[in-house]
C-alpha cells in the first residue's frame, strides 16, 4: 500500500531527462538524487531566458541589461531567503556546499586572534563519524593550520549519532560544531535541538550541512537555530555550479572575507582594501548569475509543490521501500530500518555482491544508484564495510521505481548466483 500527496509519474513530465532510453532499452529509474537531482524544464527555460534577455555583469554596470541582470540575480536571492526563512542579506551564493564549508573554515582561519571565530591551540572543532568529506576535511585543514583539535560523535550500530557523551564532546573548549542534518549514506536525521542548544551553551557556533535536508523538507533557520547552513543547488532541482551559504547577519558582519577581488570591496589601494558588507563581502568576482536565477526557479518549483508534500512523498516511498526490503533475503539495510528521524536515502548491502557489481546490474535495468563510500570514508571504516549501494528518492520517484529496484536486486542475486 502506497499513498502520497504527490504523483511521481506526473511530476516526471516536467523533467525532460525521463524521456531518455537507458542501457537495457527501458526507462530511467533515477535513484541517485542524493548525488545530484534532475532539473525541471522551468529551470532550464529560466536559465536560457536570462542569457537571451538579461545577460550582463551584475553589480558593475548601469546599462539596461546590467540593471535587469541585477534584478534577476537579487530576485533569486530573495527566493532563497524566503525558502530558508532568512533575511535577504544573510544569503550568500557559492558554487557549492563544498565551497560554503570551505568559505567558513578559511574565513574563521583568517580571523584576528581576538575574534570569536579564531581557533587557538587546544580549541576544538566537533564533527561526527557520519560527515561527508566536504564537512570533514576543511575542518581538519583548519585545525592543522591553527593547532586546534578535531573531536567527533561516534555512530552507533543502528546508524545514529551516539550522544551519550554529548556534554564532554561539546565542551568549553569547543569553538565550532559542524554536523550534517541528514546523513547522505544512512538517511539518519540528527536531533539538532539538543546539539544546537549545547553548542550555544558553550559559546560555540553551529554549522549545519543541509545538503541532504534543505531539498527534502521545510527548513526555517530562525526556528531551527543553527548559526550557519549550507546546501548545494544541484541537489535541489537547480543548476550545477551554484550553492548557498546562510549565516546569521551579526556573525557575517564580524567575519573576514574568503575570496577577494571585484565587487566585494569598499575601497582599494595598492597595498590595502576594505570590505563591503555581507552578502557582497563574500561574493567576489562576476558570480554564477544564470545559476542563481536557475536555483531561484528550482526552489520556487519546490515551494509550489510544497515542502510538506515533498517530505510526505519521500516518507511514503521510504516506508514502502523499507517494507519491501524486509522481505528480501541476504540484503541488509545500512542505517535505520524504520522511518523515525530518517530521510529517503537508503543504503544496503547484498551478501556476496560488491556494491560496484550490484550497481552495474541495476544500471543494465535502467536503475541509477550510487555505489561506493559516498564521500564518507571514515563512516565506511567504522561500519567495517568497503561501501554500500545507495538508492535515494525524490519527488519524481514513485512506488514503481521502488518495485523496479527490488526486482533489480533480485536479478542481481540471480545473476551472481548468490
Amino acid at each position: 500500500m502506497f499513498t502520497s500527496p504527490l504523483n511521481g509519474a506526473e511530476i516526471r513530465k516536467d523533467f525532460p531527462i525521463f524521456s531518455k532510453t537507458m542501457r537495457g532499452g527501458g526507462r530511467l529509474v533515477y535513484l541517485d538524487s542524493g548525488a545530484t537531482s534532475q532539473k525541471p524544464n522551468s529551470v532550464l527555460d529560466g536559465e536560457r531566458y536570462f542569457y537571451e534577455n538579461h545577460n550582463a555583469a551584475v553589480h558593475r554596470g548601469s546599462h539596461l541589461l546590467a540593471e535587469e541582470a541585477n534584478e534577476a540575480y537579487e530576485g533569486a536571492r530573495a527566493i532563497v531567503a524566503h525558502f530558508l526563512g532568512a533575511n535577504l542579506d544573510e544569503i550568500i551564493f557559492t558554487k557549492s556546499a563544498t565551497e560554503g564549508l570551505n568559505l567558513l573554515a578559511y574565513s574563521f582561519g583568517n580571523s584576528a586572534s581576538t575574534s570569536r571565530f579564531a581557533l587557538n591551540p587546544g580549541d576544538r572543532i566537533v564533527l561526527s563519524e557520519m560527515e561527508h568529506h566536504a564537512n570533514l576535511i576543511p575542518w581538519q585543514q583548519l585545525a592543522k593550520r591553527c593547532g586546534a583539535e578535531i573531536v567527533w560523535f561516534p555512530v552507533d550500530p543502528d546508524g545514529r549519532l551516539d550522544l551519550s557523551a554529548m556534554n564532554d564532546i561539546i565542551s568549553e573548549r569547543t569553538k565550532i560544531v559542524a554536523l550534517t542534518h541528514q546523513s547522505n549514506v544512512l538517511g539518519t536525521i540528527n536531533p539538532l535541538d539538543q546539539l544546537i542548544s549545547r553548542t550555544h551553551e558553550v559559546g560555540a557556533v553551529f554549522v549545519l550541512d543541509a545538503c541532504q535536508s534543505a531539498p527534502h523538507f521545510a527548513i526555517d533557520v530562525k526556528s531551527l537555530g543553527p548559526d550557519f547552513l549550507v546546501f548545494s543547488g544541484h541537489k535541489a532541482l537547480g543548476p550545477t555550479g551554484i550553492g548557498v551559504l546562510w549565516g546569521r547577519a551579526e556573525l557575517l558582519e564580524e567575519m573576514e572575507p574568503f575570496l577577494t577581488g571585484g565587487s566585494m570591496i569598499e575601497s582599494v589601494t595598492m597595498t590595502d582594501a576594505t570590505w563591503a558588507s555581507a552578502p557582497r563581502k563574500f561574493e567576489a568576482g562576476v558570480p554564477n548569475m544564470a545559476g542563481a536565477v536557475g536555483l531561484g526557479i528550482a526552489l520556487q518549483y519546490l515551494l509550489n509543490v510544497g515542502m510538506n508534500n515533498v517530505e510526505a512523498h519521500e516518507h511514503a516511498l521510504t516506508q514502502y521501500a523499507l517494507t519491501k526490503f524486509a522481505d528480501l533475503e541476504r540484503v541488509r539495510i545500512i542505517g535505520p530500518t524504520d522511518t523515525k528521524m530518517r530521510g529517503s536515502v537508503l543504503s544496503f548491502e547484498i551478501d556476496g555482491v560488491h556494491p560496484h557489481d550490484a550497481g552495474q546490474v541495476l544500471d543494465q535495468h535502467g536503475i541509477a544508484v550510487r555505489t561506493g563510500h559516498h564521500c564518507a570514508w571514515p563512516l565506511m571504516r567504522k561500519l567495517g564495510i568497503v561501501g554500500t549501494t545507495r538508492a535515494s528518492f525524490y519527488i519524481y520517484n514513485d512506488e514503481k521505481d521502488v518495485d523496479a529496484l527490488i526486482d533489480g536486486i533480485l536479478a542481481t542475486q540471480k545473476y551472481f548466483k548468490v
Binding site: 540593471e67 541585477n70 570591496i265
Partner: protein, 146 residues
C-alpha cells in the same frame, strides 16, 4: 524622452552650480562616504546647535545625480531640527524606492521631487542617495555623541 525624466533641468542646474559645496571649518561631525560600485565620494560637514541643523557643507566627486542630489539635500536640511530633517529624509528614501510609482510631495521635498525619475533607473538610486546617507550618518553620530 525617458532620459528627461532623469535629468530634469533643476538637476542639471544644481549639478552645474552645487549649493554648499565647500567644506565649512569646525563641524560638529564629519563623515566620508563612498559608492564602491562607481567610485563616487562625498565628504560632509555637519554643524549642529542642540537639535538644530545649523549648516551642512560638502565636497566630493560624482555624477550629476549624486552631485545635484547632495546639493538639493543641503538646501533642504539647513535650518531644520533633527526630527523634521529625518521626516524629509524618509520621504526621500521612499520616493527613491518607488520604482516610478510616486511623484514626491513638493511641500516636503521641494526641488528633490525633480529626482523622482531616478527611481526608474535602479543603478542610479545609490547615486541619488549618496549625500543623503552621509547626512543621515553624520546626524546619527551627532546624536550618539561621537
Amino acid at each position: 524622452m525617458e532620459l528627461d525624466s532623469l535629468y530634469q533641468e533643476v538637476i542639471l542646474d544644481h549639478y552645474r552650480k552645487p549649493a554648499h559645496k565647500a567644506l565649512q571649518p569646525n563641524p560638529t561631525n564629519q563623515v566620508h562616504h563612498i559608492n564602491p560600485a562607481c567610485g563616487d565620494e562625498v565628504t560632509l560637514n555637519l554643524h549642529m546647535d542642540g537639535q538644530k541643523i545649523v549648516d551642512v557643507s560638502w565636497d566630493g566627486v560624482g555624477c550629476s545625480i549624486s552631485q545635484a542630489s547632495t546639493s538639493i539635500m543641503t538646501d533642504l536640511m539647513i535650518g531644520k531640527d533633527v526630527d523634521s530633517a529625518m521626516k524629509v529624509l524618509n520621504e526621500f528614501t521612499e520616493l527613491m524606492q518607488s520604482k516610478g510609482s510616486l511623484k514626491g510631495d513638493e511641500e516636503i521635498l521641494d526641488d528633490a521631487v525633480a529626482l523622482a525619475g531616478v527611481s526608474k533607473f535602479p543603478a542610479r538610486i545609490k547615486c541619488a542617495l549618496l549625500g543623503w546617507m552621509a547626512f543621515k550618518d553624520a546626524v546619527s553620530q551627532s546624536q550618539s555623541g561621537n
